[in-house]
């Protein structure tokens, strides 16, 4: 694809697919039709130039192609055409003087993308299937790209996507925005899936590189789309702020040789100021709604870190208070773990270790960051022998090569 077409594809593919799923009532049919329309565009646009409303052109062309195909496959076609009352008079997007009206013709609804988000993150789907569908249908990634991002064979990822689509189809899942009563739960699923994509990109769970920028970038893009679609949802804004503030630290997270740098040791002059400013604005915007939620509180914690000119100057008391608030919203042992680390910064490693010990025994036994944090606090408390044991356990549990190298270095420094 040419650069121009590539750009149109990134921007418009998911919007077109989202609309076509509603018009055609079938995910596969919609995907095929949009792909076909882009193939036609790739042939035509280098000669004719990109039309003024490329999204409308693609959507209309895809719709026309789908209708042609349904007519050819008559039994299935009759049912679809009847069920969805598609206009069977086709419209040629190349010979329409008012291209903007094409959107009216195919009835593009901004909410289509939102419908698609709720469909992909339906709680009846497993988390890995939700993530795969979102990347495929909303981020427009090829199955092979998604498979590489998650380090699974392409056939495995293809099967995961096929199964997920089939489950939605067989279960007659409606293409709709959830009602007010069910919205909080369903929105939480959408947010969790986007954040899962972000964290997978931020610290790859396996492989040689610490981060996979593509996934993080897609997650941020999806987060922006969600905020555009639901501008009044404080948790959606909180999620975007959290991702932007985490992204702001990306340039400082690695040494030139690719090794990992802890937050405390990062060169803060390398943090991305523009992202910090935007993140702060979003945190303030969502806090104004006075409907606190887990993503907003996590974003506020990231904002406190971003505010500190040095690690020592961090307002740890504020961070502990925010972790307390987060724990009251989401009483999860990982939250208690992070709080313990903040306690150690404010009151010393002994207090931090006491807070760690208060976490329900065994709940974090297979969680690598728990052992890494405990090892660090033990080392700072002068309990070298126990620290070595905790590092061993952390090293045993990590699946990321860069993280492992960092832990091995920390252990060797004891």
């Amino acid at each position: 694809m040419t650069d121009g077409l590539q750009e149109v594809f990134r921007r418009e593919a998911s919007r077109c697919t989202a609309t076509l799923i509603r018009v055609l009532g079938d995910i596969d049919l919609a995907e095929d039709a949009v792909a076909e329309a882009f193939t036609i565009a790739a042939e035509r646009w280098p000669k004719t130039g990109i039309p003024p409303n490329p999204g409308g052109w693609i959507t209309t062309t895809a719709r026309n192609r789908a209708i042609d195909r349904l007519r050819r496959e008559s039994t299935r076609g009759e049912r679809h055409l009847a069920a969805h009352r598609l206009h069977t008079d086709s419209m040629d997007p190349d010979h329409n003087p008012q291209l903007d009206r094409l959107d009216d013709f195919v009835d593009v609804v901004e909410d289509d993308q939102l419908r698609l988000m709720f469909l992909c993150a339906h709680p009846a789907l497993a988390a890995d299937a939700q993530v795969a569908l979102i990347l495929r249908l909303l981020a427009g990634l090829e199955t092979g790209e998604i498979a590489r991002s998650f380090m699974v064979p392409e056939a495995t990822m293809a099967q995961r996507i096929v199964r997920a689509k089939r489950k939605l189809h067989d279960n007659h899942v409606s293409y709709r925005i959830p009602r007010a009563a069910e919205l909080p739960d369903r929105l939480a699923a959408v947010l969790a899936a986007i954040y899962l994509i972000y964290t997978e990109g931020h610290t790859a769970t396996s492989g040689q590189n610490l981060t996979r920028t593509d996934l993080s970038r897609e997650a941020v893009r999806l987060g922006r789309t969600l905020v555009e679609l639901m501008p009044d949802e404080p948790e959606a804004i909180g999620l975007l702020a959290l991702m932007l503030l985490s992204e702001s630290r990306r340039p400082a997270r690695r040494n030139p040789d690719g090794t990992m740098v802890r937050l405390a040791d990062q060169d803060r002059s390398r943090w991305n100021k523009a992202l910090i400013i935007e993140g702060h604005q979003l945190v303030r915007a969502c806090l104004r709604s006075h409907q606190p939620g887990p993503f907003q509180v996590q974003a506020a914690i990231a904002a406190v870190h971003a505010d500190a000119p040095t690690a020592e100057a961090t307002d740890w008391a504020q961070i502990i208070a925010l972790y307390d608030q987060l724990y009251s919203l989401r009483p999860h042992p990982v939250v208690a773990l992070n709080r313990s680390v903040a306690v150690a910064e404010l009151h010393g490693p002994a207090e931090g270790l006491a807070a760690l010990a208060a976490i329900a025994a065994g709940t974090l036994d297979t969680y690598q960051p728990y052992h890494a944090a405990r090892a660090d606090l033990l080392a700072r408390a002068g309990r070298r022998h126990e620290a070595l044991g905790a590092y061993d356990r952390a090293i045993e549990l990590t699946t990321n090569a860069v993280e492992r190298a960092f832990l091995v270095r920390q252990r060797a420094a004891l």
Binding site: H122, A124, D170, N171, H172, V173, S174, P178, E182
Partner: protein, 115 residues
């Protein structure tokens, strides 16, 4: 309208003694849920089942019929009862399923019927 199977699952040793207050509470809850389903027009069919140990497996192969004692799936969890309901879509079925799980105080499984 799409139809869904809502099945109730529990341990294969589970047995209801209807003389106990617990069982009577469950029965009352399930009765109320059944009435709800019928009033809403979502009811198709439902039944509670005798324990899995009462099951017989029948096989037919080349005109030969064989029978064996016991449930087909030799798993710890067995189906204890089920509803067939009608709902507009999965979300509608899941709403009924949530009420079913509350009524029988245990997990239920939702599966779409073909057709």
């Amino acid at each position: 309208m799409p139809q869904y199977l809502i099945s109730v699952w529990h341990d294969d040793t589970f047995e209801v003694d209807f003389s106990t207050p617990d069982a009577q509470r469950l029965a009352a809850q399930v009765d109320a849920f059944n009435n709800n389903l019928q009033q809403a027009g979502a009811w198709v069919f439902a039944a509670g089942l005798h324990p899995a140990s009462s099951a017989t497996v029948v096989r037919s192969s080349g005109g030969e019929v064989s029978m064996t004692d016991g449930p087909y799936a030799e798993t710890k969890e067995q189906m204890g009862g089920f509803w067939i309901i009608e709902a507009a879509d999965l979300d509608g079925a899941l709403e009924w399923a949530a009420k079913a799980a509350a009524a029988c105080e245990g997990p239920v499984e939702v599966r779409p019927a073909q057709g």
